[in-house]
């Protein structure tokens, strides 16, 4: 920033009527606190379709201490805060409600220490998921949770959403890979949760924090478990002439006692969109494709791969291809992992669902979802982590069409109910955020919700950490109207 810019910013600061902002600037620096309309607008969104966010000042801390100071200042002025990673959340978790200070963690992106003996990596929360795995390659390790957004999402965001990914079928989602967290609580106090010992002393609060979507405090340092990269990997691509065949193959593989590292299904529409981006040789005429990966020692993978082929053909696979180079394998995965992004080729907007249903009811649920889409005249596409029954039906639409959003939300609600009726849960991995708040009442009893709320109160009695998220209205913290609103126009 030039001297002139700095000067202008300094002037702007003296004319800013908000001492809250002035104090934040004092604690960080003028370059790392933005409060102009443009910056606040840009931080009012994430990758979800929710548009009602309204950010306060946007802070870019670079140390734990700065995060602590931000929290203390926010406490002092009774202002809310919301943490933000890469903003790839699909449930609106990082969308600011009630003009909170946005704490963007992207500048805290250092890999602090790799401890091979203890199989731990210490990282700052803004480290990009894939960057850690790339860094670990030289040691023969990787970070196992691999959300499809792994090339951009932050580990802090993964922890907050307890994110999963294709390879979490064998390895478990994020919470199975987090050993310790350093967090700043809403009152500015620092706490260390968990530790390297298998049974850390005192109450193990990791479970409470992981997946809490930034509502209990802000993570500033994470100790993650690193995983040895297996010596051999086989990737199979199975084509089917119906979605039902693909779904039944998935159940049959698991029933045969094989737990592949990953099992992913894509329907025909999404396969076509993906193929035109990556050119990986995905079959564009198959009604569904199943991507299966097995890993381990060479002998084991060979046996498992041939077993899966048998099961596949028995359940109607029309073609089975095995990737025979690392390059081919990477291309196939690139296709799967960019699937959500590729759909703009079909429609400008999408609404992505994230529910988990028992594997055995996969085929039935998918058919019911098709019916709903048909009734609402919406295009639906399916791409999902089949191995653990984690569905991601995508509704495609053009938001500019009159009444479209209402239609999409109504169809979404029905889909949610279908999964709950089939014995499923609300979120596989993307979190509750604002997306599914209203449905919490359907899955949990009032008593459950009150307990959840009490837990939250224990850490955040003023409801200032990511207010308006997760817990439904009526359960206090969602009540953002109660928050102090900043007078119009104060931030330009």
């Amino acid at each position: 920033m030039s001297f002139l810019d700095r000067f202008k910013k300094a002037i702007g600061r003296t004319t800013s009527q908000d001492p809250f902002v002035a104090d934040l600037i004092e604690a960080l620096s003028a370059e790392r606190v933005h409060f102009d309309a443009t910056q606040r607008f840009l931080h009012s969104h994430d990758a979800s379709v929710f548009d009602e966010g309204n950010a306060g000042p946007v802070c870019f801390p670079i140390t734990t201490q700065e995060v602590q100071e931000i929290m203390q200042i926010a406490q002092q002025y009774s202002r809310p805060v919301v943490a933000r990673g890469a903003g790839t959340g699909l449930a609106g978790g990082a969308i600011p409600l009630g003009e909170p200070a946005v704490i963007a963690m992207t500048k805290m992106n250092k890999i602090l220490e790799i401890d091979i003996d203890n199989r731990v990596a210490w990282v700052e929360p803004g480290v990009i998921n894939l960057d850690l795995s790339i860094h670990l390659q030289q040691y023969g390790y990787h970070f196992a949770p691999d959300p499809s957004s792994q090339q951009v999402c932050t580990i802090g965001g993964n922890v907050a959403n307890n994110s999963g990914g294709p390879h979490c079928l064998a390895y478990g989602v994020t919470d199975a890979h987090v050993l310790a967290l350093e967090v700043i609580l809403p009152d500015g106090e620092m706490a260390v949760i968990g530790g390297l010992e298998p049974e850390p002393e005192g109450l193990d609060l990791r479970g409470a924090f992981i997946g809490s979507e930034g509502t209990l405090g802000i993570t500033t340092k994470i100790g993650v478990r690193i995983t040895k990269t297996p010596p051999d990997v086989r990737t199979l691509l199975l084509s089917f002439s119906s979605m039902r065949d693909a779904a039944q193959t998935v159940s049959a593989v698991i029933a045969a006692g094989i737990v592949p590292a990953a099992m992913e299904v894509m329907d025909q529409r999404i396969t076509n969109a993906v193929e035109s981006f990556v050119g990986a040789g995905y079959p564009i005429d198959a009604a569904a494709v199943l991507l299966v990966e097995v890993e381990g020692l060479i002998d084991g993978t060979e046996i498992e791969a041939s077993h899966i082929r048998e099961i596949g053909f028995k359940h109607g696979a029309t073609n089975i291809r095995v990737a025979d180079s690392e390059q081919e394998r990477e291309l196939l995965w690139k296709g799967r992992k960019t699937a959500f992004g590729a759909i703009a080729q079909i429609a400008p907007d999408y609404y992505l669902h994230d529910t988990v249903v028992p594997r055995s009811s996969l085929a039935d649920v998918l058919e019911k979802i098709d019916e709903v889409a048909e009734r609402y005249e919406l295009i639906v596409m399916n791409v999902f982590h089949a191995g653990d029954g984690n569905l991601h039906p995508l509704l495609l639409f053009d938001a500019r069409e009159e009444g479209m959003l209402e239609k999409v939300h109504a169809a979404g609600a029905e889909i949610m109910r279908i999964s709950l009726d089939a014995g499923g849960v609300l979120s596989g991995e993307h979190g509750i955020g604002i997306e599914k708040q209203a449905y919490m009442n359907e899955l949990f009893t009032d008593e459950d919700l009150n307990h959840q709320n009490r837990l939250r109160y224990a850490f955040d009695p003023d409801c200032r950490s990511n207010p308006g998220k997760v817990l439904p209205a009526g359960h206090s913290c969602a009540d953002i109207q109660a928050l102090k609103k900043v007078p119009e126009g104060i931030w330009g």
Partner: protein, 388 residues
């Protein structure tokens, strides 16, 4: 309220997924949404469709874009980011948000080779007596007087461009010798085609770029000879004339343009295999070769027979920060981008770095990187014996 004049369909292809973020040098450096492709597109959408006022911060967001287009191949939705930002900058210049008149003066010289050479001499002298700021990247050894390249036949054109012909003519000489070695008679375009208009287009001077491109097409349309380019930036611009002008004539012209490495790679077989130079070479991919022309592999193909080892940088082709005139207008960001690149280069033992773009060469040379154009390396291998 300002109409950016971008097609709504093009703008709407962005679903804001964020998958392009890590491929953007300015996002990598700053971690800020406003410095990311997604943020920039979001602002375009809002300005264009919801009448969002253009604030200083919005202008900054667009102006800090290096236009490296690393975000484009990374985008699964096929958002045509290059044309979005060019159109945006063009409108911003037109409405006087960007590039005040005095900043447009240097662009005037680009299409006037004699003046450009005259000023180059003044600059050489000014640099010698330390009148120029350090960030002004300029080769050390520009001769005060230099003969233009001579025609050696008419099988192919060698596009010589503006600044490159004034400052890095030695590179053209190498390219020409390599082509002649392969048996092609070369017609250098020289002063007849002073500039391709790429720098104008990137700066938001779209009308000037269009005027220039029409002149270029006219001057080279007396025959159908292939047009070979040894500057990745110029090559990308010439190949995009079809898109810029939207005419059949321009499309036909663009189809005749080849990056010199693409051409040489196709004709390598006529060469007797020479002794390899005993050097290890890091290949640095210029953005406009890798992300726009997508012909960066050709550089490896042509270098491979001539040098002992080729080394790739493990950085996804992230921009070095040169970006045409970007390093002059945004020196801080440009040097931060360069630091990343240089750290990657220094981490690998090597003798020389090969870069197929004059801008990247100057930008990296400035901090002491030993960098050569691939054609210079091949030229040396063919003439043998000269020390690198």
């Amino acid at each position: 309220m300002v109409d950016l004049k971008i097609g709504i369909e093009e703008l709407n292809t962005c679903v804001q997924c964020g998958l392009c973020l890590p491929h953007c040098p300015t996002f990598r450096i700053t971690g800020e949404e406003a410095m990311s492709p997604r943020g920039r597109i979001r602002l375009m959408q809002e300005i264009q469709m919801n009448d969002r006022p253009i604030t200083k911060e919005a202008v900054d967001s667009f102006d800090t874009c290096i236009q490296c287009r690393g975000c484009e191949p990374a985008c699964p939705s096929g958002v045509p980011y290059g044309s979005l930002i060019e159109q945006t900058k063009s409108t911003l210049v037109e409405k006087k948000y960007l590039l005040p008149k005095w900043q447009q003066i240097p662009f005037f010289f680009l299409t006037r080779p004699r003046l450009l050479r005259f000023f180059t001499r003044l600059l050489v002298v000014a640099k010698k007596i330390h009148l120029l700021p350090n960030r002004f990247a300029m080769p050390e050894n520009i001769p005060i007087w230099d003969k233009p390249l001579r025609e050696s036949g008419n099988d192919v054109y060698l596009f010589t461009g503006c600044v490159m012909d004034a400052w890095q003519r030695e590179t053209h000489r190498s390219s020409k010798r390599v082509l002649e070695h392969l048996g092609f008679g070369v017609t250098p375009t020289g002063d007849r085609i002073p500039c391709c208009g790429a720098l104008h287009d990137h700066a938001g001077l779209m009308q000037s770029a269009k005027d220039i491109s029409q002149k270029v097409i006219r001057s080279l349309s007396e025959n159908e000879l292939p047009i070979l380019v040894d500057s990745a930036g110029c090559g990308a611009a010439l190949k995009e004339y079809g898109h810029l002008l939207g005419t059949d004539e321009a499309n036909r012209f663009s189809a005749r343009v080849f990056d010199i490495h693409e051409w040489v790679a196709e004709h390598l077989d006529v060469l007797q295999s020479p002794a390899k130079l005993p050097i290890s070479v890091i290949v640095q991919d210029p953005c406009h070769l890798r992300h726009v022309q997508e012909s960066h592999e050709a550089v490896r193909l042509v270098l491979e027979p001539f040098v002992e080892t080729l080394i790739d940088l493990n950085d996804d082709g992230l921009c070095c920060g040169a970006g045409g005139a970007f390093s002059l207008f945004q020196p801080a960001l440009a040097s931060q981008a360069r630091e990343r690149k240089v750290a990657g280069i220094r981490a690998q033992s090597h003798d020389v770095v090969a870069s197929a773009n004059p801008g990247c060469m100057l930008h990296l040379q400035q901090v002491g990187v030993n960098i050569k154009h691939p054609m210079e390396i091949i030229d040396e291998a063919l003439s043998r014996g000269i020390q690198i």
